[in-house]
Assembly symmetry: C2
DNA sequence: CAGTATGCTGACTAAGCGTTCAGTCAGGAG
DNA sequence: CTCCTGACTGAACGCTTAGTCAGCATACTG
């Protein structure tokens, strides 16, 4: 019913109602999306009244912005720490291993799709980190150089984020859980490693598709109805 | 204001109100998500009354299911056709090139995240197709063999789908538009091609990460796939 | 022509939403 | 003690939502 007056026993875990509300929101937003979560549900999970949420955050959108900001700040700090630890195959996977940050990853995965300015900033900064990080890898001889480093970093990074966003499908199709799994998603990691190390296409195919792409680049003409006439 | 009695003049473009409603729904669902779209908005776009939607589809969820079904059927038929046309780097990109199917791709990208049974079936079938398709590629010497073909196909396919889902970020970070672009997303395709042909990591790194992965696999059950068995 | 089904609508309802507000309560300051 | 402040609540508000219903208009059928 009402918030228990004796909240000191849980005070060590989460202090004020403000943060408890934010944590509840992150969890529910990450599960059902912002639009699919009502203030009432958040209030119930946080053990407060809906009015208190407005009291603290002004509006539902204010709460969402606060969540964005918090998630962005926290993950960015975590990422900065992770960089110091040394080379890693896929930083995203690393962070998802840490149970404490799973709600944040779920929130990020949901928010990535409907776009928030703060999360976009977070993504931009993460890509920037990755760019620098990969560059160091190239210099150290761990990573092959690329004809277009920026594009490759963006693709690699968004591949990883896309995997996170589609983690439910990985669970269904491959039986690995990229966010909630208690053990590392071995099958996923092995496949990614194989792709990133050995490649997928044979040299012959490379020439084939490469020439097609060069042809595309040449006719960078937006006009021309080449809808289905060219295969 | 009211629906014009003379609807024969538009009948060739879109016939009945039933399909006009479905098309409007697919477009709006794809833009703002199912939860973020009201029946009123769909009705307005279709030029009908909200009551008619209920009349035809029973409920909002009924409409959503009908949209799922339609998108799944249409894209599956398209994909089956595409397979006949011959080898392709990334079938998803092909379909997104065709302007007529862009709303369907947008719908798919949105629905992929919040999960619908019909769309899941669609994905499963697409993966099945891809598995077979890649296998033929291996037999023809176009694609390198894999230690775990199933896992590699799932990863490759979901990488492509993830790119579609995160197309807004590709637009922001790389300036290429995977869904709405009038010209092929050259930078994206080149980067993907480079990754899939040449790989990313150097052989030395491969040994390094590989041993780490083997170590991971030892910790869990070395029985075939990586099932979730213990927390 | 009457009868009847069907596409379709405006007016309506109940429920749920985010938000407002008056006011309670605990605790610190004077 | 009184006064004030800030966390907090229950009840209400205005609005939007999905969904209902009686009935109109048109089109086919006999």
């Amino acid at each position: 019913m009402v918030a228990q007056p004796d909240r000191r026993e849980e005070a060590n875990a989460e202090r004020g109602g403000v943060e408890r509300i934010r944590d509840a929101a992150i969890e529910l937003f990450g599960q059902h999306g912002v639009n699919g979560t009502s203030l009432k549900a958040i209030a119930e999970r946080a053990g407060v009244s809906p009015a208190l949420i407005i009291h603290h955050y002004g509006s539902k959108d204010g709460l969402r912005v606060a969540c964005d900001q918090y998630v962005a700040d926290t993950l960015l700090a975590l990422k900065t720490d992770a960089v110091r630890q040394g080379p890693r195959l896929d930083p995203v996977m690393l962070t998802s291993q840490i149970a404490e940050f799973r709600p944040l990853m779920r929130y990020l995965a949901k928010t990535l799709v409907d776009g928030s300015p703060h999360v976009n900033d977070l993504i931009d900064k993460m890509v920037e980190h990755a760019e620098q990080y990969i560059e160091e890898g190239v210099a150290a001889g761990l990573v092959k150089p690329s004809a277009n480093p920026r594009a490759r970093v963006v693709v690699l990074f968004l591949f990883a984020m896309g995997s996170l966003v589609l983690h439910e499908h990985f669970k269904r199709l491959l039986g690995v859980d990229l966010i909630d799994g208690d053990e590392p998603p071995v099958a996923y990691l092995q496949a990614v490693l194989e792709i990133y190390c050995e490649g997928v296409l044979t040299p012959g195919t490379y020439q084939n598709v490469r020439s097609y792409l060069d042809q595309l680049e040449e006719q960078s003409d937006p006009k021309g109805g080449s809808d289905d006439e060219r295969d």
